[in-house]
């Protein structure tokens, strides 16, 4: 498959994977640690959505499904399917060190391993998923944090995971 098209498809798949898993496991609902609350309130003060801000703060402060997807792709590149499972194990350890229960990270990296495995039959390589995941995180954290937070807040409302405040 053409590299550019593959990277775009992989970025979309990674984005859907980590946003759906993270939202389902309640990242927009409440800040797990104090840093996530500070990020969320700062985003809200700049005109963003508090739930999307908590989401961005949480994926900044502890390895959740975003880091899980990235590490699963790297593990799959290095070691195949066992590499993805080792990535889930390491993400779990990292989560517990960051005062996070770790459901989102482990589930996200296991689903990412399955996605990379299925897409390897179509011709998408793990390298495309690594680049795609970096692009996916960039769209959430890097380009326009305020608009991204509003969009994430809408997704959180769809999943009934919006912060109560």
């Amino acid at each position: 498959m053409n590299e550019v098209i593959g990277i775009i498809i992989a970025a979309v798949l990674c984005w859907l994977n980590f946003v759906i898993v993270d939202t389902y496991f309640g990242l927009p609902e409440q800040p797990g640690v104090r840093g996530a609350r500070i990020v969320g309130e700062d985003v809200k003060r700049r005109g963003g959505d508090i739930a999307g801000g908590f989401f961005q703060g949480n994926i900044l402060c502890s390895p959740d499904a975003s880091a899980g997807t990235l590490m699963a792709a790297i593990g799959y590149l290095l070691l195949g399917i066992p590499g993805g499972i080792i990535a889930a194990f390491l993400i779990f350890i990292g989560n517990r060190l960051c005062a996070d229960p770790g459901y989102a990270g482990t589930v996200g990296s296991l689903t990412a391993t399955i996605i990379v495995f299925i897409c390897s039959f179509v011709g998408l390589t793990p390298e495309m998923f690594i680049v795609g995941m970096v692009i996916a995180i960039l769209t959430v954290q890097g380009i326009d944090q305020v608009r991204a937070s509003i969009f994430l807040g809408k997704i959180a409302q769809k999943f009934n995971r919006h912060a109560e405040e």
Binding site: F25, G26, Q30, P31, G32, V33, R34, R37, L79, G80, P82, G83, I85, I86, A88, F89, L90, F92, I93, R96, L97, A99, D100, P101, G102, Y103, T106
Partner: protein, 128 residues
């Protein structure tokens, strides 16, 4: 007379002769070994009287249970053995069972010392 390096490798090879004899595991063997690791870890954790599910609310619970951290730890450690090409006898099933038992024991007795729960005042806010 006493060659430390040679003796160490020789001693380590006692454990490794079985592993090196069946490097070529088929995909079904690997799958079966993973299933054995998951099942043995859950069953041993239940025998050790860990709860099946974490306490409510599920998504914010730091409690260990039979379903959540135990199989993850078991298959993670088994994967490390697998990629190092060390799969003991019977196509890795025995190794998977041993790792399942050890991970359940670890979760039951050592987990809270290794990964303590965050303190209420400065660890995590708003954790219900």
């Amino acid at each position: 007379m006493f060659d430390l390096v040679y003796n160490t490798i020789f001693f380590a090879s006692f454990g490794n002769i079985y592993g090196l004899s069946n490097i070529t595991l088929s995909l079904s063997d690997v799958l079966l070994a993973y299933i054995v690791a998951i099942l043995v870890s859950i069953i041993v954790a239940l025998v050790l009287r860990l709860p099946l599910l974490p306490s409510k609310p599920y998504r914010y619970s730091f409690d260990v249970s039979a379903l959540y951290p135990t199989p993850i730890i078991a298959i993670g450690i088994f994967s490390i053995f697998l990629v190092l090409n060390y799969t003991f006898i019977y196509n890795g099933i025995v190794l998977a069972a041993i790792i399942g038992i050890i991970s359940a024991l670890f979760v039951k007795y050592l987990f809270d010392f290794v990964f303590p729960k965050p303190l209420d005042e400065d660890g995590g806010e708003d954790i219900q």
